[in-house]
């Protein structure tokens, strides 16, 4: 009876789901097609000297017969004949050329943003390898599956709700053609100023948001969101119930992450601190040390507190036992994959390679590379000098810490400052890991809280310290004219804006995540049973071992003779 009732409920809901989706499909019915080119609607052009020159150039361009012979040197491919003319009888005119130039700029930026987004998506593989490698073999399948399924949960949640909350009011990005349909920011007026709270357009990418530019920004922002979600799976590995993980990830992808993302990047109140109260250029987080990593890190801390430490992690006197991961090679290869993906994360955050100061992408890429390098150095030297061994897992965490820390300032700092930021991050991650484990008694199998949380906050702060005022992305940032400049270069107000961002991450994001997951603890339960945990989560939770043919063979005793 119960089963029939449950099945009926499910069938009803699936029907409702189909109805809801069909509504969105109806809303996506394209508007009447626009003219092929804007110039087509223009009045008949007057023939100017420039038009005559264009006609002359068209006459001199290589003919089809020349092109048929091949172009090994690449000197005759791509000429005026490749510019589409609005009126074929009149030939190519100046407006045609201008339109083509505009479209080329947007095309370059679309391709740049999409390709860098693809790189960020590939980081999921790196996260999966790092997290699973640092866990015991009995939990390998479960940890890999969390990293796999978080992509699906996050993407779905972001499509139905998250994107609308985060970017629903983010119109005005000229790199991607204006994004002019994203105009639904809900705001409130406080002390005579208007503050953005959350976006309201873009549910299901339907209606007017069925737009080429919106699709590009959706893909790029979605993979960033997914990076934040996957941070939590590492901190709670080896004891988190798969069901609770899935529900928690959906909620984080739909609400927690998009809310802070809106405040920082989607015309929300943090980005308005400059225009409203004169604090620098508003809260600045170029690629997401705060929005992505600290949000993930703060949530990881909240959830891992609730889930509790693994059995055997702490002794009765409070001292901790190291629980060694099963595959250090996966960890280090995963770190390299992440470092590779970071070239999408940071340089891609210009959202374009053409115009508006976007040629700074080279500087951003080098800053990213150097911070990763000094982060690794910091961690290795710290561990080697203080603990006696250049610990492999902490070396990987040092690399990631440097990359996390440079993510926010990468668009605003010099190569030297990037090195300093990375070096501090490399040491900070070691200190923070010890603090979280030994002082707070929070069990974080992969060091995610320290890598992403602590160093995410450090990255946000470092913008307020090290931004050197040389970047120029279209002459303004967050609507305030000028370049982002930190405390060491003369602007204390930028430092204040960054501190407000940090306080919001710690005070709001952490608390919200904590309350949501405490509610999930009540309704679903966060942790697997003792039997499941001791046996390993692979069989009870996933139904199969990660390595079914793995045979444990004890090492022979070393006699010393």
């Amino acid at each position: 009876m119960k089963k029939t009732l449950r099945n009926s409920c499910l069938s009803l809901c699936i029907l409702a789901l189909i109805l809801a989706l069909s509504l969105t499909v109806r809303a996506q019915t394209p508007a009447p097609a626009a003219p092929a080119t804007p110039a087509a609607a223009a009045p008949t052009p007057v023939v100017t000297p420039a038009d005559a020159e264009l006609k002359d150039a068209a006459g001199k361009a290589p003919a089809t017969a020349d092109l048929a012979k091949g172009d090994p040197g690449g000197t005759i491919t791509g000429t005026i004949n490749d510019v589409p003319a609005a009126d074929s009888k009149a030939g190519v005119t100046l407006p045609d050329v201008a339109n083509q130039v505009g479209q080329n700029k947007i095309a370059v930026n679309f391709v740049w943003t999409l390709v860098t987004g693809f790189l960020v998506m590939f980081m999921q593989a790196g996260f999966a390898m790092v997290e699973s490698g640092l866990c015991r073999v009995k939990n390998a399948n479960h940890t890999y599956m969390m990293n796999f399924f978080v992509y699906t949960c996050g993407l779905f949640a972001y499509w139905i709700l998250g994107f609308a909350i985060q970017m629903g009011g983010a119109a005005g990005n000229s790199n991607l053609g204006g994004l002019n349909t994203l105009t639904g920011e809900k705001s409130m007026t406080l002390f005579g100023k208007t503050w953005g709270l959350f976006g309201q357009t873009g549910y299901f990418l339907s209606g007017h948001t069925y737009d080429v530019g919106v699709m590009v920004i959706f893909l790029f922002e979605m993979v960033f969101m997914d990076t934040a979600l996957t941070i939590v799976t590492g901190a709670c590995a080896e004891r988190w119930k798969f069901l609770t993980f899935a529900v928690s990830s959906v909620i984080m992808g739909a609400i927690t992450y998009p809310l802070y993302g809106n405040w920082a990047w989607g015309a929300g109140w943090l980005s308005q601190l400059g225009t409203n109260v004169g604090l620098g250029k508003g809260y600045c987080d170029f690629a997401g040390s705060g929005v992505v990593h600290a949000v993930g890190g703060m949530t990881a801390l909240a959830v891992s507190m609730i889930v509790g430490p693994r059995i055997g992690k702490f002794n009765r006197d409070g001292s901790s036992n190291p629980i060694i991961g099963h595959d250090i090679s996966a960890v280090l290869i995963g770190c390299f994959i992440l470092a590779f993906g970071w070239f999408g994360f940071n340089p891609g955050s210009t959202l374009g390679a053409s115009a508006n100061g976007n040629l700074r992408i080279g500087t951003i890429a080098v800053a990213t590379m150097l911070a990763g390098c000094t982060g690794t150095l910091g961690a290795i030297i710290y561990m080697w000098a203080l603990k006696g061994k250049p610990d492999a897992s902490m070396s990987g965490n040092g690399l990631l810490a440097g990359l996390v820390a440079i993510t926010a300032p990468s668009g605003f700092v010099s190569a030297t400052n990037a090195c300093i930021i990375g070096l501090v991050a490399g040491v900070l991650v070691c200190v923070s890991c010890a603090f979280v484990e030994n002082f707070m008694k929070v069990d974080d199998p992969v060091g995610a809280i320290s890598v992403h949380g602590t160093n995410g906050l450090w990255g946000v702060l470092s913008v307020g310290l090290f931004a050197d005022g040389t970047s120029n992305y279209g002459g303004s940032w967050n609507g305030v004219t000028g370049s982002v400049t930190g405390l060491f270069y003369g602007d204390a107000s930028q430092f204040a804006a960054q501190l407000i961002g940090i306080s919001t991450l710690m005070g709001f994001v952490f608390t919200l995540s904590f309350v949501i997951n405490l509610a999930l603890e009540f309704f679903v339960g966060q942790r697997v049973s003792v039997e499941t945990e001791l046996a390993g989560l692979d069989i009870p939770e996933m139904g199969q071992l990660g390595y079914p043919e793995f045979v444990f063979r004890p090492e022979p005793a070393y006699s010393g003779d």
Binding site: L10, C13, L23, T24, L243, G312, I324, I500, G507, V524
Partner: protein
């Protein structure tokens, strides 16, 4: 309780409810939108009740009940720090004053996050008792062996 069919069904219901609810938000202006919103909310509540119903099947976890009030106090102190920072934006117009308020806010939040909440969760922590002693011993032995091999 390991993963099972009931969990899968209720998770499906949760996702379907969330989707229908969001469709309701998207078309809230019309009658259909409001109906979808209500239907989605019902499905979501149904899934939560379903989760609650099967929760006891999980069996004993390696956690003891802690002081719930202290956990909520910790969360409230964290939020209070943020509110203090926000207040500073409007209380003073000077950059220095706002920096001081922000630092105070971060400090208050840190007290909640680093001192109150861990104390609440660790008060009755299972590792303080005898439970899990076998696994603890096994983990310690495995770690010792690994360290010895690496020397």
């Amino acid at each position: 309780m390991a993963a099972n069919k009931q969990q899968g069904s209720y998770f499906g219901l949760f996702l379907a409810g969330a989707t229908v609810l969001c469709a309701g938000f998207a078309y809230f202006g019309g009658g259909t939108g409001k109906a979808l919103l209500a239907l989605g909310a019902i499905a979501l509540i149904g899934s939560l009740l379903g989760f609650l119903g099967i929760k006891p099947l999980e069996g004993k976890t390696a956690m003891n009940p802690g002081p719930e009030g202290m956990k909520l106090v910790g969360a409230a102190v964290c939020a209070l720090g943020w509110i203090l920072t926000l207040s500073g934006i409007h209380i003073t117009a000077s950059t220095g004053g706002r920096i001081v308020f922000a630092l105070l806010g971060i400090g208050v939040t840190a007290v909640g996050m680093i001192f109150i909440l861990p104390a609440a969760f660790n008060k009755n922590a299972i590792w303080k008792g005898d439970s899990g002693a076998t696994e603890r011993a096994r983990t310690a032995a495995a770690a010792k062996t690994t360290m010895e091999h690496s020397r």
